[in-house]
């Protein structure tokens, strides 16, 4: 019950936050932009009357407050404008490309957790062992390496030099047809359809961008897990558990790990935000047909309805993830419920 009240409260707070987000995006794309916003719609050779007509058509002759209200009204109806690049409604573009990016970033997130947590746990339990040093070195490197540079290095070695991965283009082997759409995630859909070859074709090509992104995600997760583990193992309750003669394995895996992972949950949302940003860089390098590449193309062409759509999507995703991780945190940490 308490939990439901909490969730309801958080959902309610989401409304002003998202409204604020739209305000910031509005400010950035309509008010702060370089030059006159009308120029973004009007061809350079247009006559003065034509300029006025187009400005009026887009409501740009209205006062800024009216413009904002219209803007929010349109947003609520799912109208994000029409992309200059694709001449399609931005909302359709986003929906079409969302599964690709979701698949890429989520797989990277999962891989980052799958490697980062065990690494952090071992490093925290066996302090100053070689695992600890390797994990520390990997974390320092993972945080310091620009994801676009790492992508290029990976392509150079794994594709150009050794030829063990396919050409870094697209989401799926170019000779294959995508699996029948259920979720839009090629790996999942091909498994549902039982098309093993398609699964292999898409997994092979996803491998490199996922690993590159996961490397950056793993670093902070491993560090966070390690410091959580160290704190937990130095605590009074672990001391008490040891005094009671509980086996060390049980202490580490059952008691310490749970506490060590609590901060990692919140971290996950931050890391996912990093992956969303990273997807713009990585998708561009790997010619991956997702939202990140869409955003990059939009930026290059000053396609501002598309840019704004992407930013709104990223912020909404980010805020929602924070909400989910906060709720999970609250379920797992009983101390907060009484507070």
């Amino acid at each position: 019950m308490q939990l439901l009240v909490y969730i309801a409260k958080r959902l309610l707070l989401l409304v002003p936050l998202l409204l604020g987000v739209t305000f910031v995006v509005f400010l950035l794309t309509r008010v702060v932009i370089e030059g006159n916003p009308v120029d973004r719609f009007v061809p350079p050779m247009a006559s003065a009357e034509e300029r006025e007509r187009i400005a009026a058509e887009h409501g740009l002759d209205q006062p800024v407050t009216t413009q904002y209200l219209t803007y929010v009204q349109n947003l609520l109806q799912g109208d994000l404008g029409v992309s200059f690049n694709t001449s399609r409604p931005v909302i359709d573009d986003l929906a079409r490309l969302f599964p690709a990016t979701f698949e890429l970033t989520t797989l990277a997130m999962l891989l980052g957790l799958l490697v980062g947590i065990p690494l952090g746990v071992i490093a925290g339990v066996k302090r100053d062992s070689w695992v600890d040093h390797v994990s520390r070195a990997l974390s320092v490197a993972g945080v310091a390496m620009p994801v676009f540079w790492l992508s290029l290095l990976a392509i150079y070695f794994l594709f150009y030099q050794w030829g063990i991965v396919p050409a870094p283009i697209g989401r799926i082997d170019p000779q294959m047809t995508p699996p029948p759409q259920v979720t839009g995630l090629y790996t999942v859909d091909s498994l549902i359809a039982g098309e093993w070859e398609t699964f292999y074709g898409t997994a092979r090509i996803l491998f490199l961008p996922v690993v590159v992104l996961a490397f950056g995600a793993m670093a902070p997760i491993a560090r966070m897990t390690r410091s959580g583990m160290v704190d937990a193992l130095d605590s009074q309750y672990v001391l008490a558990a040891r005094a009671l003669g509980i086996p060390w394995r049980t202490i580490v895996l059952r008691y310490a790990l749970k506490n060590a992972l609590l901060p990692v949950i919140t971290m996950t949302a931050v890391v996912y935000g990093f992956l969303l940003g990273g997807s713009v860089l990585v998708e561009n390098i790997f010619a991956f047909p997702g939202l990140g590449r869409y955003a990059y193309n939009a930026i290059s062409a000053s396609d501002y309805p598309a840019i704004q759509g992407f930013i709104l999507y990223a912020a909404t995703m980010y805020v929602t993830l924070f909400l989910i991780t906060d709720i999970i945190y609250r379920i797992l940490d009983p101390r907060i419920q009484t507070a």
Binding site: L28, V143, F148, W149, A315
Partner: protein
């Protein structure tokens, strides 16, 4: 246990004989090798930026189609690019851009963020709450994407790049400063200052702020590294420094098309310097945090 450790540390500090600053530094560096290495590298990069004309072997802007895409050699340490530009000289000059972005963006964020945080912590209530809501709004965006949005709105240029990265760094400083001020505003020295007739603003400015800056500086040492990474990322996608300026991220971008034809050096060396710079800043941060919080192991 902690108290004991602190006592040990302070005992060591007091027994230590008088040293001149050089010995003092050597002593400190031996005890904090990680921080010292980081500091050394940052220093080297700053020197490289300042003395770029002396270090560079060629004009970083000179192009010569006759010598394009040459692999590293004695004439061109890091090889040449698509237009025959000397990569080594461009990397050296690139330190000017990337180091100014790191210090510039973080400096601006530090000043604005700390002022917001201090005001919000000192005058809780309507003003403080309002300010923090605005800060939280900035945090509703993934950092890099907000930087992208701002840089995209302002248009690609060196100054706008610094502004974009500074704005995305404001929240962390605001939060740290606010928490800090909340915890020191009821200390005895603050009350003593109030009792001796200082105005509220003066207490904040002359007493609380100077006592809060150092810990905040330490807690946020990861920011310069992050600033370099995002600046390079923004330039990579064309939202930062423009060609032909030798910024490291932009240089990686110009070489990215050449990777699959085997010309790795065009992208590799500028990227390597990004890694070195970010690592150097992060090592300083790591070391300082260990120093301040002996519980961290």
């Amino acid at each position: 246990m902690v108290n004991q450790r602190v006592a040990e540390v302070s005992a060591q500090e007091t027994i230590r004989p008088d040293l001149n600053w050089r010995q003092e530094f050597a002593y400190w560096a031996r005890r904090n090798p990680v921080t010292a290495i980081g500091l050394l590298f940052v220093l080297l990069l700053v020197l490289m930026a300042i003395f770029a004309p002396l270090i560079a072997t060629h004009d970083p802007y000179a192009t010569n189609p006759a010598i394009s895409n040459l692999s590293p050699s004695r004439d061109h340490y890091f090889g040449t690019g698509t237009f025959g530009e000397d990569i080594f000289s461009r990397v050296v000059y690139g330190a000017r851009y990337d180091m100014s972005i790191a210090f510039g963006a973080v400096g601006i964020a530090l000043v604005i963020g700390c002022v917001i945080g201090a005001v919000a912590g000192f005058w809780e209530g309507f003003l403080g709450e309002g300010l923090m809501r605005i800060v939280e709004l900035l945090q509703a965006f993934p950092q890099f994407i907000l930087a992208m949005a701002i840089a995209g709105a302002l248009g690609p240029s060196f100054t706008n790049l610094i502004i974009a990265i500074a704005v995305t760094n404001i929240p962390i400083y605001a939060h740290l400063m606010r928490v800090r001020i909340l915890s020191v505003k009821h200390t005895q020295y603050a009350m003593a200052a109030a009792a001796s007739g200082n105005s509220r603003g003066r207490i904040l400015y002359r007493h609380l702020l100077p006592n809060s800056l150092a810990p905040i500086f330490v807690q946020s040492t990861l920011q310069p590294g992050w600033a370099i990474l995002s600046a390079a990322g923004l330039s990579f996608i064309g939202l930062g420094v423009r060609m032909p300026s030798p910024e490291w991220g932009l240089m990686v971008a110009t070489g990215s098309q050449r990777i699959i034809s085997g010309e790795w050096w065009i992208s590799f060396f500028p990227g390597l310097f990004i890694v070195i710079a970010v690592m150097a800043f992060n090592l300083i941060g790591d070391g300082l945090q260990d120093l301040l919080d002996p519980q961290r192991k």
